[in-house]
């Protein structure tokens, strides 16, 4: 049986820079200005792909958590953790860029009456509670299990939330896709998809970067424990760390 081999981190990093660079060039030199919003609509090409990647990251975390609960393999827990971590970072970027766009387009930094904004904030705050929940549990196995249950429950909430927002009546936030009266012109659509590909690559690259760092950190801790167990009693305290590095995985 052949298995799919992921490209190396270096290849992915170069691909991310190339695709994101091309996307930003297309945003400013290829995509036309929006007839309604004008130049300010350029924020769309960074804000929407970031928000989509954040939400997909949360769903991916739920997928890995299901695998963790089924197999008990800690690697799936680590992948779930990293997916949520990246999702929260991208979520922060989506909220900030969205807020800047709102200020320019609507004259306000935030509109509480708008279901799209508020529901995204709820999802974001829900995932922000993941960290205190996870690190309030000391036992590593229970910590991983509870975090997985949280990730599955919250991950199921993401598509439900998305559907609820689509069904809700929008006040000011535009519904760009799947509208009856058309959507984006081809140049804008192509630029959007290149931006989305760039952001998705950035998400996956950073995720692999963080996973790689976590694995290395765990190996360092393993090595430290191995040396610690061999050490004479006098030197043991010098080797043992105050807090094991892998405790945060």
């Amino acid at each position: 049986m052949t298995s799919l081999k992921m490209p190396s981190l270096r290849v992915m990093a170069f691909a991310t820079v190339a695709v994101l660079g091309a996307a930003f060039a297309m945003v400013f030199f290829y995509a036309p200005n929006d007839a309604d919003q004008g130049f300010i609509q350029k924020i769309f090409y960074v804000h929407v792909p970031i928000a989509i990647c954040a939400l997909i990251g949360f769903v991916v975390a739920a997928f890995h958590s299901i695998r963790h609960l089924r197999t008990g393999d800690p690697i799936h827990d680590v992948r779930s953790y990293v997916s949520i971590h990246m999702g929260v970072i991208f979520g922060t970027a989506a909220l900030l860029t969205g807020s800047i766009w709102a200020r320019a387009a609507w004259g306000k930094w935030w509109v509480w009456e708008e279901p799209t904004l508020v529901s995204f904030l709820i999802v974001y705050l829900l995932y922000a509670t993941y960290y205190p929940l996870r690190y309030s549990i000391e036992d590593r196995e229970r910590q991983a299990r509870y975090a997985s249950v949280f990730a599955i429950t919250a991950g199921a909430f993401v598509p439900l939330n998305f559907m609820a927002v689509r069904l809700a009546e929008s006040l000011v936030h535009p519904r760009v896709f799947a509208t009856a009266d058309g959507g984006l012109p081809p140049e804008m659509l192509l630029t959007f998809f290149v931006s989305l590909a760039g952001m998705a690559l950035l998400f996956v690259t950073l995720m692999r970067f963080e996973l790689s760092a976590k694995m290395t950190s765990a190996q360092v801790s393993r090595l430290r424990r191995a040396l610690d167990s061999e050490a004479p009693a006098a030197s043991a305290s010098r080797i043992a760390p105050a807090v094991p590095a892998e405790q945060r995985i």
Binding site: G38, I40, K42, V46, I100, L227, A245
Partner: protein
């Protein structure tokens, strides 16, 4: 609201892209600090392993 003139809209557009870039840079800086800490840990462990080896070979 009518579309903002390009000189005023440009500030917001630049702001949004800069915010994105700054967040990525902050993340990379944090990861670099973590990697640096790991490098120091590994150096320390390598020193310990080396000194053990010398102790064993020295009798």
């Amino acid at each position: 609201m009518p579309a903002l003139p390009i000189d005023e809209a440009g500030k917001y557009v630049a702001g949004a892209y800069v915010v994105f870039l700054v967040l990525v840079l902050i993340y990379v800086a944090i990861m670099a600090a973590k990697l640096e800490r790991m490098r120091r840990d590994l150096t320390e462990l390598a020193d310990i392993a080396e000194s053990r080896k010398q102790e064993v070979s020295g009798g």
